[in-house]
Symmetry: C2
Subunit: 230 residues, 2 copies
């Protein structure tokens, strides 16, 4: 691998949870084993079961991690946006990716060579601790996911998703900009596209939200938060 990484990406990686707090020498040493990757929207980056050669950091774009069933249905496990890593855990998992990864839109990634990274990790236990913490956090999210898939209904999961992704707008409103097409969001929250459509409509009818394409305005955040809904 060579180091054709942009200055901007190097800076961002430098501040990431894995590589922060280290001197320039160390950082450039590991970046010698990192390479930029451009991938077009819709393309598969790797498939479940593929051998693991590297892990990735997202500079720009959106990566969809998903499982697919023999029947062709797919379940979106996670959507990975700019500034985040994915597949670090796979390095330690027997050499095979446990999920598929595809670009949702044109994306710019950085691939960090797995073997080099492991060698670099092995030099200092404190480096491992960051990784352990990152993996723990991800495990926690997975447990939450299992929790909400079993203990909650579709509506509740949608509400949770909306509240998790809501942000104050420049005009002072609380807004969710859907990061991907509705069908992908549907899979993410564990319902079919038709159902998501109906759920959004229901919330709109009840006056809780306003839906306009990918933009969802939250009318009454507190009411949503308490709502067990009917």
């Amino acid at each position: 691998m060579s180091a054709n990484l942009s200055e901007r990406d190097l800076l961002a990686l430098r501040r990431s949870y894995i590589f922060s707090d280290m001197d320039d020498g160390q950082f450039h040493e590991i970046m010698r084993h990192a390479a930029p990757v451009e991938i077009a929207g819709g393309q598969l980056l790797f498939g479940q079961g593929d051998p693991v050669a590297a892990f990735y950091w997202v500079g720009e774009g959106l990566i969809r991690l998903f499982r697919s069933s023999p029947q062709g249905d797919e379940k979106v496990i996670e959507l990975i946006g700019p500034g985040r890593f994915f597949a670090e855990a796979a390095l330690f998992m027997g050499g095979r990716f446990p999920v598929n990864a595809a670009a949702q839109v044109n994306s710019r990634l950085v691939a960090v060579d797995g073997a080099s990274f492991k060698a670099w990790l092995a030099q200092d236990a404190s480096r491992c601790f960051r990784l352990l913490a990152g993996m723990s956090a991800r495990m926690h999210k997975l447990v939450n996911e299992i929790d909400s898939l079993t203990l909650m209904k579709g509506t509740d999961r949608l509400l949770q998703y909306l509240l998790d992704h809501s942000e104050p707008d420049d005009s002072g409103q609380t807004v969710v900009e859907l990061e991907a097409p509705k069908q992908v969001i549907a899979s993410r929250i564990g319902v079919k596209p038709e159902t998501l459509s109906r759920l959004l409509h229901k919330l709109a009818d009840l006056g809780y939200v306003e839906v306009k394409d990918n933009r969802i305005v939250i009318r009454d955040e507190d009411k949503l938060r308490e709502a067990g809904l009917d």
Copy 2:
């Protein structure tokens, strides 16, 4: 903590994935910070949100890791039997347990002090690698769990559970001994107890299995494995 651990448990721990391949000195050093824990069936070991002081190894018995909903329903995330660790990951997760843990039956555990363990880990990166591998494996299982909760129906999950837990019998039959009461297994596979009862009955009617209390004899393993069921 003091070291009142039984010789048998020490030996077993010595061979566990975390502590194998190390000399006696190292091992006894860390075991000075381990303590035996006896817990009666039904008792709560720790609750979700409790501060993490230690992680555990099961010598004998069965521990139920679960989440509970505001409505009082609970979802069993995992059942941990003899020879396995749990809550190692929680050490790195901001100091709070992400799930509840209760003894399913009277159990004998070993609690390993978290702070001491982390200090011990920090001395050598290769120790971290074992832990990373263990956590990766657990993450993989969680992803599988999400997968089957969304992509499969109750019957399929039951079949998967049965096949995963089946063992050859002394009399040559393939048998599953349910490790816990049916209601717990039901929660584990993501259905209500009533539903599990009906599903088992259906499989029995179809001639795939024979159910007698906690003992399930698998009639035709291959047929089960292929069966998408009707």
